[in-house]
Symmetry: C3
Subunit: 407 residues, 3 copies
Amino acid sequence: MTPYDGYHRRTVPPPDRELTEVGPGTPGGEYLRRFWQPVAFERDLGDTPLRVRILGEDLVVFRDRRGQIGVLHLHCAHRGTSLEFGIPLECGIRCCYHGWVYDVDGRCLETPGEPAGSRLRERVVQGAYPTHVFTGLIFAYLGPPDRRPDFPMYDSYAVPGLRLMPAATFALPCNWLQVKDNSMDPVHTAFLHALSSGYQFTEAFGVVPELDWMTTEAGMVYIATRRVGDLVWVRVCDFMPPNVHQFTREIEDASQAKSASRPVVIRWAVPNDDGQTTNFELAQVDPAWGLTPAEVARPGFGQSDDRPYAERQRQPADFDAQSSQRRIAVHDLEHLASTDRGVIMLRRIVRDGIRAVARGEDPAGLGHGKIIRTFTQDTVVRVPPAADPDEDRRLLRATGRDTVNSR
Amino acid sequence: MTPYDGYHRRTVPPPDRELTEVGPGTPGGEYLRRFWQPVAFERDLGDTPLRVRILGEDLVVFRDRRGQIGVLHLHCAHRGTSLEFGIPLECGIRCCYHGWVYDVDGRCLETPGEPAGSRLRERVVQGAYPTHVFTGLIFAYLGPPDRRPDFPMYDSYAVPGLRLMPAATFALPCNWLQVKDNSMDPVHTAFLHALSSGYQFTEAFGVVPELDWMTTEAGMVYIATRRVGDLVWVRVCDFMPPNVHQFTREIEDASQAKSASRPVVIRWAVPNDDGQTTNFELAQVDPAWGLTPAEVARPGFGQSDDRPYAERQRQPADFDAQSSQRRIAVHDLEHLASTDRGVIMLRRIVRDGIRAVARGEDPAGLGHGKIIRTFTQDTVVRVPPAADPDEDRRLLRATGRDTVNSR
Amino acid sequence: MTPYDGYHRRTVPPPDRELTEVGPGTPGGEYLRRFWQPVAFERDLGDTPLRVRILGEDLVVFRDRRGQIGVLHLHCAHRGTSLEFGIPLECGIRCCYHGWVYDVDGRCLETPGEPAGSRLRERVVQGAYPTHVFTGLIFAYLGPPDRRPDFPMYDSYAVPGLRLMPAATFALPCNWLQVKDNSMDPVHTAFLHALSSGYQFTEAFGVVPELDWMTTEAGMVYIATRRVGDLVWVRVCDFMPPNVHQFTREIEDASQAKSASRPVVIRWAVPNDDGQTTNFELAQVDPAWGLTPAEVARPGFGQSDDRPYAERQRQPADFDAQSSQRRIAVHDLEHLASTDRGVIMLRRIVRDGIRAVARGEDPAGLGHGKIIRTFTQDTVVRVPPAADPDEDRRLLRATGRDTVNSR
């Protein structure tokens, strides 16, 4: 290779538009719209409306006094005033400017300045999206009405002994796909997270787990296996297309054999637009941990832009690593390695889904009303080491795949 | 209508460029330039120049030591340094960089670094606009010099017993036309202003006045008539093209018959550029009210972006309703109603003016040196009610039109 | 000329792209890239990397623990994470995300997540630029590797009795060329700097020195000569293409004859991009002055945007005059005068260099390994006045040129 070769490497090609664009009518945007997407936590919805931006659309989220949740286009169908200044009523929301009222489904209920007997309101529609509230998280469906899927139910929503709770939300000023790339990239945890915890690189560095990736009914998983004497700790995390992943919160100490533990965190990376992403999390919490809702809702270290730049430089974390891959990461400039196999698979799943939707087909991951099986877990199994290191690595991988397959 | 139809209604067409663009050479910009436009209050002009942006042009306003007001292009004709850093002289303004001096009419008076006897200055011109100061408000004429109109004099500038004073100025981050739409939209006062004063909607809501609109010599008026027993309160407000309107400040209690009362506020909505507008007001003030100039200059409640977002959500006012109709309101998405007849008429007057100018003709509203008759007033007349409600509404409208016609 | 002619002078043509653009592949950008450019002071480089923008490229500057300075493309060749969050190592820098390591020349030294024996790193290159540190100022060469010039040495880098020290850095939100125009424009000092020191214009104003400009081996100079009785004070300042100039810091009192004094300040105007420029200075300092490094590093009055607007209006200085000539000054609107001869010559030198590079030739000013002779000085010589003022002006100019030619 040529040293000091910056002059010949300075050209920055455009991002992969098919994979990264999210606006109305774009291939990626139409794909993402085929799934229910979180738009806000109920806890953030007071008695005034909440203005949000989702998939490049400006929307208002509100709860009327009957408790119905509405997700409407932001600008009033009458003359465009923002409904963020509207007043939630017993039924629907009233625009502040001329008092027109819309129900949560977009029907116009009143045009009070019009003469008695006016039937104008029958011809007026405010853009609206169906909503579904699950565990305090408000989802909306922004796709074509005749393709509205059932709300997908992952098996991880019900775990014996644990309680599913609303957890954190935090935003990154970058495209959603690089946020999701990170979910199938377990190697980064050995570096970035060691750094952010103050760990120093040493000669002994590099106890990276044995890694593997598999496609599953739900999407895909990564499997990280680590040997601890006669025991093997198997850690599995899911990616569920288009933009969901889940992982276990706790670090296993692997001191004894143990069946699958599933205190998962489920995280959606919702595009606000091409260059801004908001994460929403639900979490399975063990009541024995004694966490308050506020504690469960707190973002993890370094997930959001809440630290001074000097500290972010010394202890970089997820926010810094992901959001600094340019506003929209440029795949053409990447040098993908064997550890990026998960990222490659994830992008393939997304691209396949985008193209399926473009062809008029259903994308993978809709669930179709059945409980969706997922695989996230920490499991410790007794598997004595193989004779030599290469053989043992094969054994670790086989143990990992068996763990997923036997679930 | 189809509920939850946001997917089919999400496309946002572009604004009506003919009506909303204000820059040099645009149809709307050339129309607005045929009228004297306010650029600043004298009270805001100290001994340093004032940088302003008017109709998409960067300008400097200053007063030289002789008291002449200059409105010049911002950037010096020599090498472009901003004259906001210039020094007002006995006559004209000196650029800070090389000391060139320009008179208020743009003539170059000095190029002091040049050799004695240099005639360079005779070939140098700084772009300048004629000015006219009226009641402490500085107007400039940015149009073609050979079409410069007389400064228009409205009959409301002189009202017996009242004193015309400089009043408020405040800016909105949106196009000028939606600010002006509001002036011929009296229905909003029953909703928006009831809201901002904390009024709650009730069953009895909807005592909207009987409304009417008429074209006039000056432009157009709205007429709001309300019955109070045997009395009828007639409220009239003017729109004077291209971007002026006036209204009475006080709310009539209509307890007895009363001839026309005209304590008007006259308000110009001056485009800074396509997406920003500055209002300037003059007001007729009754000396008996004992208001100080600072009190007269104070913007009304909710006219400017000076309140916290949470308060604006709970008590939305004009600033919020107008500026949130998108940066430039999109007429193609509107659903205009019978109460929008005034808005429709106003836009028609503006479009007619734009097209007249495009054809090389004079637009309506120039005045041509005559006092311009306007109609803003509160009048209370004795008119016993008609037999039935529909008949009485016709009577109210007839009373309103008579009031305007008999002025 | 026509007064009040703003309407016919309001069109703003685009800037001269050939002279003002600096990005990769632009004629001006390729010209500037043929020269070593300062990117940061060593004093501003701590143990974390420094993110900079130079000639439209995002870069990271760092010092590894061996003390080598690296200037690399900001985004990691692996998956694009910013190296501003990287960790300087004994040798090179480690990306925070997956631990890849790059040497200062861009070679990839480690890809630690890859399997033992992986040769991936041999195919990975991080864009890098050669560096040279001189007097605490870090220079990089962003041009074509096969055209890398010797680091240019000006004779002013070594002046007997003086010490060259790192001096100020300060940024302007405008194009670099108008910053440099200022360097060959000595007339402005009589106006702008008189203003900023509170000097008032009087009848006696205009004791502008006799001015002259000459091309030199190094680029060009301006010569300002002033008569003080039988003495003539000759002040010479250099412009060294593409974007360097130097001047003497002290004001001569010219009370007696004196040979060339050269306490120069050398200043580079480095484009961050087309609309932002950072100046870097080195300064010759007399140890007898007793200045601390912090005092030498302090920008002069009014060089940066560190003053309130109201003060900048009353005492405008270099920052205000230069940065307000529009973001990129528009030459087509200028009215150049005899005092702008230096500006015209400077732009000619820059344009000639741009066109030479475009033709594949070397631009003037590279030095080619020889000490570059410069002429900046204050000299006082005894030259009795000529018989009449015009003759004396010719004598002053001749004295100035003799001073330059005899150096």
